[in-house]
């Protein structure tokens, strides 16, 4: 078995950012851009005596999904929690700009092939958001990433791939929400405020951050799938995420637009209805929402394996 084939069967959750990046695209097609040998370390961490990484915790590069150039951004949670600083942020912004320039070149030189060769962006999140050691630069980078995502609207699908240990929180939680499509496994999470902060704000009686099951049903893949916040829930293997990415790359752009949760007046009108529903249901647990959506036995869904969950879960869909 080649190295790439071995990667395919690996747990996405257990894989490093680089393994995820290499495995998400076609065999042998990944070229890392501004990789470790370029040695773009954070200029700020050494001043603080903090360990540095040659890639600053973000792997960026390009591969192929068939004929589609796939721009990959993959965050490494084991390096300072995947938090985004100046260099890592610039790599994200640069990769998104690259996707735009590839699209524009294609549009200008080969308009008939746009659908067949349209680039796709895959962001494999593993982050709590801003890196506090360089907080201001990290925050400003988040705004730039958001700006670039809007530039790609209706042109290049931007896909959140969320199957990592840390998941996607803080300012990057906004970024994930703003992408076109979200693919998750049940073992990962998306949110804004992490469990410890909620516990601190509301008290342990309201939210016990050490209760793993509670944490997962509040922001985990199964919950996000039921709420319509994640479009596709996949098993925990690199191959499963890759198969989903291939299917998304083949979709026409208007179908991609229908997968969005936010980004237009009609989309936010639906979200406002969901907020009104929340005010009415006043959920004390995610299970209350699952019930309100039509799942009579939430506990059964929590316990269900992937196949049974997919067969049984009733869910909201973004465009419904």
């Amino acid at each position: 078995m080649s190295k790439w084939q071995t990667l395919q069967t690996r747990s996405f959750l257990e894989s490093t950012a680089r393994q995820r990046a290499q495995g998400l695209v076609d065999e042998g097609s990944f070229t890392e851009l501004v990789g470790p040998t370029e040695r773009f370390i954070s200029p700020h961490l050494p001043e603080l005596g903090e360990a540095v990484e040659f890639d600053d915790g973000v792997v960026t590069g390009i591969g192929l999904l068939g004929k589609h150039p796939a721009i990959v951004i993959s965050q490494e949670g084991r390096f300072i929690g995947g938090a985004v600083g100046e260099v890592g942020g610039a790599k994200m912004v640069g990769a998104l700009k690259l996707a735009q320039s590839i699209y524009e070149k294609l549009q200008a030189e080969n308009p008939a092939e746009v659908q067949a060769r349209r680039p796709i962006v895959l962001i494999s999140f593993e982050t709590g958001g801003v890196r506090l050691h360089e907080a201001n630069a990290g925050l400003l980078a988040h705004a730039e990433v958001m700006d670039q995502i809007q530039n790609l609207r209706h042109k290049v699908p931007v896909v959140s791939v969320v199957g990592s240990k840390i998941g996607c929180f803080g300012g990057m939680g906004f970024v994930a929400a703003a992408t076109d499509v979200i693919v998750m496994s049940e073992f990962s999470r998306i949110g804004l405020t992490g469990p410890e902060v909620i516990e601190q704000e509301m008290g342990r009686a309201e939210f016990d951050a050490s209760d793993r099951a509670l944490v997962f049903r509040t922001t985990g893949g199964k919950h996000k799938y039921i709420m319509g916040d994640c479009n596709y829930l996949v098993p925990d293997s690199i191959a499963a995420f890759r198969q989903q990415a291939i299917a998304i790359a083949a979709l026409p752009m208007d179908a991609i637009e229908n997968l969005r949760r936010i980004g237009s007046r009609s989309a936010i009108e639906r979200q406002m209805q969901l907020v009104a529903m929340a005010a009415e249901v006043s959920p004390t647990d995610a299970k209350d929402m699952w019930k309100a959506i039509g799942n009579e036995n939430p506990q059964q869904l929590i316990d269900a394996n992937y196949t049974d969950f997919m067969a049984q879960a009733k869910r909201l869909t973004p465009a419904a």
Partner: protein, 104 residues
Amino acid sequence: MALTQLKYEFSPATPRALPVPAVHFGVVGSGDMEVIIENKDLGGKAVATVVTPVTGFDHVWEMVLRRFMDECQLGNVAISINDNNATPVVVSLRLRQALLEIEG
């Protein structure tokens, strides 16, 4: 409080070349490290640079790196390590894993 930079030089008895321009391995997690080993014309010698927030382990680094160099006999290579408190066992392991990346 800046990071500590340690530099070492080795002269392998029977220097052999790295079969690829460069190889990278590892993640700078807590208690872990990354390494780049790359070809560089050094007249048969090998150099190693370690960047670490930890001080006072110069000899340990030298010992672990020397053992690795004795074993692999790479010449004309530069080794660059970013460390975050990896133990000697982890360091040895990561160095070997880096070579396995190319030599399978």
